[in-house]
């Protein structure tokens, strides 16, 4: 509809403007899909239209999307989902028996035996039970109750739901939420949207991005002066840092949580993505229970997982879950009411999650292929993690901590003062200026460190380790070359 104008001025003011829209929403930012990505999409369009550039394709190393970068889906998972979608295929003998069995079980649990039916808001019951069994197995037998499991539309849905529940109070009593810096910007976006107080605790770059309890204490003490800190969020393995917390660190965090009476949100979506030999994933729940009843019966915990990462990389299904521990029953009832507002998580995603927690067993026909494919993906990621660290550390001006886990590297870049000043004149964060220039010159799309948070005066970028190894090598080399050029240009 054309905009009617008189003398260049809109004939009528808008009903919904930036002045009267939700002021919190106005302040929301989300760097992973922010301005740099929008520019990348524009460049892709220009390339399609035949505009000449110093590169032939845009490489989107900004987002943790494995399939987009060529990683193949796991055969078994997709077979079962196809059977669930079109049950006529159950008659087709090209599908293995174990896939058919699982499809039938899932369909039985769906209304009208169709994945097109709404499920209960908390998720399909037998899938929640399977998730509980999976958690028990993972955590060496520590019991898990399916009533404490909430299936969700990706882990993001569950994280935002918990924050919605926990953010309360006004003025000095406003809920404060501790988040790591650097962080996955969903957290800052959600806190902005909810008008919660963001409390930053800095991870230690010099110690491989480890978490220091004294830093938690510092952040908490400072925050108590102006808000009511109630929640601590931790991402393990870390995004964007790739750091895998030691068991000792996890115990220290739990002790801290108990001392300070905080609610713990543990984002564990990368739990299968651990590459460093010296690193091991320890679930917060397991450690909590192994610390004995003094802790396990009192500490409130929500832990999150999803199908988007690990070896599956099934981001597009928007599937995940959270397990809540030690919630007051009345609070849990409010949580159950709250999730009902969004109706239910996508059912194909719930089905997918069921397969992830209930994979082929050694005595089943699909086991060999499944294990082979799974091992290959994780091996490939581990190799790329190492490759990335190696190559970036050869570039003067770039320092890269080991990528112990997750899917990213978050190297520190040294920028010449002239570049920093130039960026500031343009009103841009220096690393945004750097990344935009990199994009224009090489077609490589990264996310500037300013989008994740970093110590003042430092600059970083986040890059995924997902492109195929050969391409990744080329990308890393191009970044290195760009960095040298950039340093020279602004010296």
């Amino acid at each position: 509809m054309s905009q009617q104008r008189e003398n260049g001025v809109p004939a009528r003011g808008k009903v919904l403007t930036v002045d009267n829209m939700n002021p919190y929403v106005k302040r929301v930012e989300y760097a992973v899909r922010g301005p740099i990505v929008q520019r990348a999409v524009q460049i892709e369009k220009e390339l399609r239209e035949g505009v000449k550039k110093p590169f032939t394709e845009v490489i989107k190393a900004n987002i943790g999307d494995a399939h987009a970068m060529g990683q193949k889906p796991i055969t078994f998972l997709r077979q079962v989902l196809a059977l669930c979608s079109y049950p006529e295929l159950l008659k087709d003998n090209k599908f293995p028996e174990d896939a058919k069995k699982r499809a039938q079980r899932i369909l039985q649990a769906c209304g009208g035996q169709s994945i097109g039916s709404y499920s209960a808001s908390q998720g399909i019951e037998c899938i929640r039970e399977d998730v509980a069994r999976y958690i028990e197995k993972r955590d060496g037998g520590i019991p898990s109750n399916s009533d404490d499991i909430y299936l969700s539309t990706g882990a993001s849905d569950a994280i935002v739901t918990m924050l919605k529940l926990l953010v309360a109070g006004e003025g000095r009593d406003r809920t404060g939420v501790m988040i790591p810096i650097p962080q996955y910007p969903l957290y800052s976006a959600a806190l902005t949207d909810l008008g919660a107080v963001q409390i930053n605790y800095y991870l230690d770059e010099d110690k491989c991005w480890s978490l220091d309890i004294s830093e938690l204490r510092r952040a908490l003490a400072a925050a108590r002066k102006h808000c009511n800190p109630r929640v601590l969020c931790i991402i393990n393995p870390g995004n964007p840092t790739g750091q895998v917390q030691s068991r000792q660190c996890i115990e220290d965090v739990i002790r801290f949580i108990k001392e300070e009476d905080l609610f713990l949100m543990a984002d564990e979506v990368y739990q299968d993505n651990v590459y460093a030999e010296s690193s091991k994933f320890h679930s917060f729940k397991k450690v909590l229970f192994e610390m004995g009843p003094e802790f396990s019966s009192t500490v409130e915990l929500a832990s999150f997982h999803s199908t988007s990462k690990c070896y599956m990389g099934e981001c597009g299904f928007r599937a995940g879950y959270m397990e809540v521990i030690n919630l007051d029953p009345e609070v849990k009832a409010q949580l159950t009411k709250l999730v009902s507002v969004r109706l239910c998580p996508p059912v194909p995603g719930q089905a997918l999650l069921d397969l992830v927690v209930n994979p082929p067993q050694p005595d089943e026909p699909s086991y060999a292929t499944f294990t082979q494919e799974q091992t290959l993906v994780l091996k490939d990621l581990a190799e790329k993690a190492k490759l990335t660290e190696q190559i970036l550390n050869t570039v003067p001006g770039i320092t890269c901590n080991p990528v112990q886990g997750a899917m990213y590297t978050f190297p520190r870049i040294t920028l010449p003062q002239k570049a920093i000043d130039h960026a500031k004149e343009e009103g841009q964060a220096p690393d945004m200026f750097y990344c935009l220039k990199l994009l224009e010159e090489t077609g490589i799309c990264l996310v500037p460190g300013s989008g994740f948070g970093q110590r003042d005066g430092t600059h970083h970028f986040r890059m995924t380790i997902l492109p195929p190894a050969e391409k990744l090598k080329v990308v890393l080399e191009k970044i290195g070359e760009f960095h040298q050029r950039f340093t020279l240009e602004f010296s």
């Binding site: 997709r78 295929l89 849905d157 299904f317």
Partner: protein
């Protein structure tokens, strides 16, 4: 430990759902049946939600075949599936990054599908242009409604942001508004006139909001939920004039636009009416219209596929809208694929068309039959009065409860129609939704149940209802 009073007051203020409570009762009954407890019925029949597959409607073969091939692309090369299925799957997979439905998509959705939606809207609206950039693919209509309300509601402002919403209406949308700290400003639909929306009532509602809250939007559902009422073009023009005069944002929930079966009834979209009213209205009235794959002929509620088209929004607000949507990454790809199949259905001449036609005709015939049967049976029962159902997914008959029943309900601490539904569930295994869940005029009582059901299930529903109702009225005479 966190206790109730430390929890967000906005969450606490979200209304308690009577239907959720009945759902728990139904779960209890299902458990007992599983354990072998004897009851006068073998299973619970749940017609409380708008969930066609649950109640016997079959998914469309073409839709499910395409989905299967997209999920497991080996099927694209197999001759087990018809060639047009494979072609469509191939095209859709080509539009997915890395050729996989497991990839994230752009925030607004897969571009090809955005374009399909835009084309569909334009064709549906007699050529009124639709711009792909104004379309966001979402997690059903509800996903879109929640996001757009979030733009509109200033949760910390005083007075509270208000939205005019219909009574009876859609409880999930009301809950979403409450969860954001918004205020509901109810406007009552006229039951005697087949649930018509009347402008005088909108004016009264708006007037009642003065000094109480700051109304910013009008939420209309057309065809109505639960009423099935289909708005006349004249009524829609009056609504558009009204929102323009009163500077309100128009939220048009058009999720059941494909469920129109009353004779002489025709759905026309708010976008079309707005466009055909010409400037200045067509250039200025700000509109969000919602649609999804949950109803219509597909009934794919569980896939969570939908879209919102935003019309005449301020460009800066659109930028913020984009950022807001981007924090959720993107809508589930399987839902987006379902939207494509809804807006770009298979055509005559395609190999799969004969089957598609057969299946969709069956559903259309079934709906007409069901609507007639429901009004016929219910209106024959003393104590029930049912407006003719011309569209939508539900029947929303009025139950004239005897004073003794109302008294008993009060004693048991529940709204009278919840009491009725609870007894109905206990005695027959039939789960329907009480009128209090959806809103109704004080002193009136209703039930809502889905009529997008197989013919057999509907007969069973009516049989249970008739038998129970007759006994109930006798017991509480």
């Amino acid at each position: 430990m966190s206790i109730l009073r430390e929890i967000s007051p906005k969450v606490r203020n979200i209304r308690h759902s009577e239907l959720l409570a009945l759902g728990r009762q139904a779960c209890g009954i299902k458990e007992k049946l599983k354990q072998g407890v004897r009851k006068p019925y073998k299973e619970v029949i749940d017609v409380s939600g708008g969930d066609p597959h649950r109640t016997g409607v079959k998914p469309l073969s073409f839709v499910r075949q395409v989905l299967a091939a997209c999920l497991y692309p080996q099927l694209v090369n197999s001759d087990k599936l018809p060639v047009d299925v494979r072609q469509r799957a191939q095209r859709l997979l080509g539009a997915c990054k890395g050729g996989s439905v497991g990839s994230y998509t752009l925030t607004q959705g897969i571009m090809d599908i955005q374009q399909s939606v835009s084309k569909f809207i334009s064709q549906r609206d007699g050529g009124v242009p639709s711009v792909p950039e104004n379309i966001f693919l979402t997690a059903g209509s509800q996903g879109a409604i929640m996001k757009i309300l979030s733009l509109l509601v200033n949760s910390e402002g005083t007075p509270r942001t208000g939205v005019l919403t219909p009574v009876p209406g859609y409880s999930s949308a009301n809950m979403a508004l409450e969860g954001l700290g918004g205020a509901i400003v109810p406007y009552y639909l006229n039951e005697e006139l087949c649930w018509e929306l009347q402008i005088d009532e909108l004016r009264r509602a708006l007037q009642s909001a003065k000094g109480v809250c700051n109304p910013v939007a009008l939420y209309v559902i057309n065809p109505g939920n639960p009423t099935g009422h289909i708005q006349s073009r004249k009524s829609m023009e009056e609504v558009i004039q009204f929102v323009s005069q009163e500077k309100l944002f128009l939220l048009a929930d058009e999720t059941v636009q494909d469920n129109v079966f009353g004779e002489g009834s025709e759905f026309v979209s708010y976008k079309r009416v707005l466009a055909e009213m010409g400037p200045p209205l067509s250039d200025t009235v700000e509109l969000a219209s919602f649609h999804s794959v949950s109803k219509g002929l597909m009934g794919e509620c569980g896939l969570r596929g939908g879209y919102v088209e935003l019309v005449n929004l301020d460009p800066e607000v659109m930028n913020h809208t984009y950022t807001l949507f981007s924090t959720d990454s993107s809508a589930a790809v399987t839902g987006q694929l379902a939207v494509d199949l809804m807006v770009d259905p298979i055509q005559p001449g395609d190999p799969s068309y004969p089957l598609y036609y057969k299946e969709t005709q069956y559903i259309r015939t079934m709906q007409v039959h069901n609507a007639k049967r429901v009004t016929e049976v219910l209106n024959s029962l003393p104590g029930f009065s049912c407006q003719p159902v011309k569209g939508g997914a539900f029947a929303f008959p009025r139950v004239h409860l005897p004073p003794r029943a109302i008294q008993k309900a009060k004693e048991e601490g529940m709204p009278p129609d919840h009491f009725y539904c609870s007894r109905l569930l206990e005695d027959t295994g039939l789960l329907v939704s009480p009128g209090c869940e959806h809103g109704q005029r004080e002193g009136t009582h209703h039930i809502r149940f889905c009529i997008m059901t197989s013919v057999d299930i509907l007969e069973e529903v009516l049989r249970c209802l008739a038998r129970f109702h007759t006994q109930f009225m006798k017991d509480f005479f």
